[in-house]
Structure formats: structure tokens, C-alpha cells
């Protein structure tokens, strides 16, 4: 019998790997190795995107978060250890040790360890009660009951998580302030026009959006033993009141295990075009894996990346000749606005705005000189779909055509 494949981390990438592995094995492709899935969370793999959207707002039932029903894993003869951490790997002996004292042998190892949200240091009040980060189902379930009409929510960081949570909190009638250290919200991920669109959207929903605003520290109630957050002190000297705080200032890849095992790490667990680490028996997929794209080692924190890399590793291990060359896509829901992104805007030199076909719609098209890189589509799924199609097909429509609302995008995409 072939040696087992052990998957460390039980998120989207892991789910995608085991699904593809089983689908291939059922067709007689590959070696049908036994699978062992180890995850630190108490639950099987689930979709993370709804945590800051429909799940937190109560519009999606818990059961529907799970990528596969719980019994699926046992039906498929997948050994699962949830609530279990892997403490060390011995790549020479191909063994790993878990937090509950087991030693497990592997033939191949897949590291799907994900990323962790950055938190504020203790000296800035990061440990106070009432201060949240949002990554896991447990985080969402801890924060959701705090979303009570009339309370004051301070969001530190104007990225997707923070803005999505702001929208959910407004739905519940909280008083919401977003502070962003950079000049504009979404600065790290989007063009000024996309930032402008979302700033206006949140302002229309009475969110106080404060950019170029630095936090000095969170403050706490001074009465006795209660250490709960009660506000924030800003660099401009201002004091804000807050009943709860969400910290959404980005994430870092979980590389500790890989690093301790002697695997090359650079902006994540370094992998090649088949998601293989510097040890040929060890692969990595998802938020934690860094890969080369246009001469840079990048990581993508998205469902697309996790699902596609997990899928790819299963195919590689089964003997298929495939390499990772993604067409990234991403989405965000805020209020009644759906943002869909196709491509990667990294290295763009200009942007073009196209009005949407319906009121409230708009798309931002990113170019490096005349080369189309990416599209941010707000309430304009057609622009997203056609943009994605054009990027996938290697089409580079002239920015003038894109900017002209009289031009039908469908004709452009057929050229």
C-alpha cells in the first residue's frame, strides 16, 4: 500500500486537494494514497469569505459554510484529526508530531497552513476584551453577538475585511468608524478610483471613513478589573469612543512549521510552478505559499488561489503534467454592492474607468502601458466576466475603447 499523503491545515486549499485527489482516484488515476487531514480548528474545511459577509449578518446558515458535509470525509476514508496542531516535521524520516502526541508517517506532505491576521501589540491595547480579528469561524461567532444596535464599532484598517464588516455592522445599526493609516482605503490592493467608489459607498451608509489616520493606542475602561476597550487615541490627538474594535490590518503567512523544517521561505513558503517546496516530498498551497510571477515571489490570499493550487497539487501527485499559471479572481460584498476582480493589477501604469450598464455600476480597468492586467467591477458582473475573458484570452483592447460607454464590450471581447 502506498504511504499516506498528509495534509496539514484544513482550509479551502486542503478541501480542494482532497476533493480532486478522490475524484482522480475514483477514475483510477494516481496511486490512491490514503489521506490524513490535520486541522487546528475543531471543524472540517469551510468557506471563509462569508464570515465577514452573509454569515456574520445572519443571512447564511452555518451548515452552508462547510465545503463538504462532515460525513463526507469518513465516507471517503479520509482520516481526519481536527482540533489538532502539527508541532514538528522530520523531513528526513518523513514523520510529523502532533499536539496530541501522535507520530504520523507520510509519503507526501501538503502544507496548507494558511495565514493569520495581524493583531495590534499589547502596548497598543491589542489584547483588550472587545477587540477582534476576523479569520476563523470562531472569530465571526465571537464578534456577531456584539453587533448590537447603537453600539460604537471602530474598525482599524480599511481593507476588504474591515469594509465588509463595516457594511454588516451598519445593517445592525451600529455607529461605525473606519480608520486607515494610508492615504486612502484599499490603497494596497486597488487604484484610487476603486477606493473613491468604496469611500463614497460607505459614506452614503453613514460610516465615518478617516484616511491618513494613525492609531496611537486603544484605550480601556479604568474601573477596577474590567479591561474592556472603550475607545482609541489617534495620532492627531483626537479621542474616539468605541464599544468594540475590529482590527483588519492584513495577514501574514503561517510559515513557522515550514521554516523549522528547513524549507525555503521567502514571503511565505517558497514553491515552484507545481507548488513543490524546496523538499520534493513536500508541497504547499493557499495563502501560505509564495510563487514566482513576473519575476517576483508573490502570495495570493484568495479562494481562487487556494482552490486552484490545492487542485493542482492533487493532479501533480497523480502524475499529470500541469503547472500553476492562474487567472486570479476575487470578490467582495458590501451593502448591495458586489465587487468582482479579474486578473492582478500588480505593476499597473494607468487605469481607465468605464461606466456600468446599470446605475451604480462602474468598472476600473488596469493597464501596464497597453497591456490589460486586471478589472475591478462594481455592480457590473458583465464587465467582470468580459474582462476576465479578455485577460484569459490575452486580448488587450485599447483603453479608449474600454472608456467609451457607446462601445459594446462583447464586440471588443470577440476581437
Amino acid at each position: 500500500m502506498p504511504k499516506p499523503i498528509v495534509i496539514v491545515g484544513a482550509g479551502q486549499a486542503a478541501a480542494s486537494f482532497v476533493s480532486r485527489h478522490k475524484a482522480l482516484a475514483n477514475k483510477g488515476i494516481g496511486n490512491n494514497e490514503p489521506l490524513i487531514l490535520i486541522g487546528e480548528e475543531p471543524v472540517p474545511p469551510y468557506q471563509r469569505p462569508p464570515l465577514s459577509k452573509a454569515y456574520m449578518s445572519g443571512d447564511l446558515e452555518r451548515d452552508r459554510l462547510f465545503i463538504r458535509p462532515t460525513q463526507w470525509y469518513s465516507e471517503q476514508n479520509i482520516t481526519t484529526y481536527f482540533n489538532t496542531r502539527v508541532d514538528s516535521i522530520d523531513p528526513q524520516l518523513r514523520k510529523l508530531k502532533t499536539s496530541d502526541g501522535q507520530t504520523i508517517d507520510y509519503g507526501k506532505l501538503i502544507l496548507c497552513t494558511g495565514s493569520s491576521p495581524l493583531s495590534l501589540p499589547t502596548r497598543m491595547g491589542g489584547d483588550l476584551a472587545g477587540v477582534f480579528t476576523l479569520r476563523n469561524i470562531a472569530d465571526a461567532e465571537a464578534m456577531a453577538p456584539e453587533l448590537v444596535l447603537g453600539r460604537k464599532l471602530l474598525i482599524v484598517g480599511g481593507g476588504y475585511i474591515g469594509l465588509e464588516a463595516a457594511a454588516v455592522a451598519r445593517k445592525f445599526g451600529l455607529d461605525v468608524t473606519v480608520i486607515e493609516m494610508a492615504e486612502r482605503i484599499l490603497q494596497r490592493v486597488a487604484a484610487p478610483q476603486t477606493s473613491d467608489f468604496f469611500r463614497m459607498l460607505h459614506q452614503q451608509h453613514d460610516v465615518d471613513v478617516r484616511e491618513s489616520t494613525q492609531l496611537v493606542r486603544l484605550t480601556q475602561k479604568s474601573d477596577g478589573l474590567n479591561s474592556r476597550v472603550d475607545g482609541a487615541e489617534l495620532a492627531n490627538g483626537e479621542q474616539l469612543e468605541a464599544d468594540l474594535v475590529l482590527v483588519g490590518i492584513g495577514g501574514r503567512p503561517n510559515i513557522k512549521l515550514a521554516d523549522q523544517s528547513g524549507l525555503d521561505c521567502e514571503n511565505g513558503i517558497a514553491v515552484n510552478q507545481i507548488c513543490q517546496t524546496s523538499n520534493p516530498d513536500i508541497f504547499s498551497a493557499g495563502d501560505c505559499a509564495s510563487f514566482m510571477r513576473n519575476g517576483q515571489r508573490i502570495r495570493l490570499e484568495s479562494v481562487q488561489n487556494a482552490a486552484d493550487q490545492g487542485d493542482l497539487v492533487a493532479r501533480v501527485i497523480a502524475g499529470e503534467a500541469v503547472t500553476y499559471d492562474p487567472l486570479p479572481w476575487f470578490w467582495s460584498d458590501q451593502y448591495d454592492c458586489k465587487l468582482q476582480i479579474a486578473g492582478l493589477n500588480m505593476g499597473y501604469t494607468q487605469t481607465v474607468i468605464r461606466p456600468g450598464s446599470k446605475p451604480g455600476g462602474q468598472s476600473v480597468w488596469y493597464y501596464a502601458q497597453d497591456k490589460l492586467l486586471a478589472v475591478d467591477a462594481m455592480n457590473d458582473t458583465m464587465a467582470y466576466a468580459l474582462g476576465r475573458k479578455m485577460i484569459g484570452a490575452g486580448l488587450h483592447p485599447s483603453p479608449d475603447l474600454i472608456a467609451d460607454p457607446a462601445i459594446d464590450l462583447k464586440t471588443v471581447s470577440k476581437k
Partner: protein, 105 residues
Amino acid sequence: MAKITWKTEDGKEISADVKDGLNLMEAAIANDVPDVDGDCGGCLSCATCHVFVDEAWLERTGEVDDIEDTMLEMTDVERRDNSRLSCQLIASPELDGLVLHVPAP
């Protein structure tokens, strides 16, 4: 309630009674139909829940709108006239007995 049958390329059949209102991408995943992924959770962003509707059912599954039509051009297996994204098919009594063919990438 609608009885839905998925037929895979290697000749397997999976049938399930699906609650009214549930989309058939979620139903496929719940019933372990291979090669229907639904990575985006059904928000028309990914085109990974592609199916072919059995010819006999085409009238009842209705028209494909513009957006789905465009997303269908991004499927792994090339689309045909009877292609749908199964997240856009919603279980209802009218679809009781529906047969879907699952393409294998």
C-alpha cells in the same frame, strides 16, 4: 422538492431529492457529485459548477441570462448549447426529474 439526477462521463448516476429553493451547485456538492466545485459559493464569479442540461429538460430550465452566458465562456470544458452554471438552477417542483450531465475536466 425535486429529484435531480447527475450523470458523470464515466457512466455513474447520482440522484437526490433537493429541497425547493436550493441551488443545484450546492445540491451537487452536498451529494458528492464529482467535478462540480462552486468555488465562489454561487456569486457568478468562478464558472466551476458547469453542467450540461439533458436535452429533454432544456425548455423547463429556461433561458441563460447575459451574465451567465458570458461566464459560461470561461468553463474548463468547452460550453455547448445546453451548458449551464448549476448555481443558477434553483430546485423547484417544475424541475422534478431533471437530468444533468457533468463534464469532466
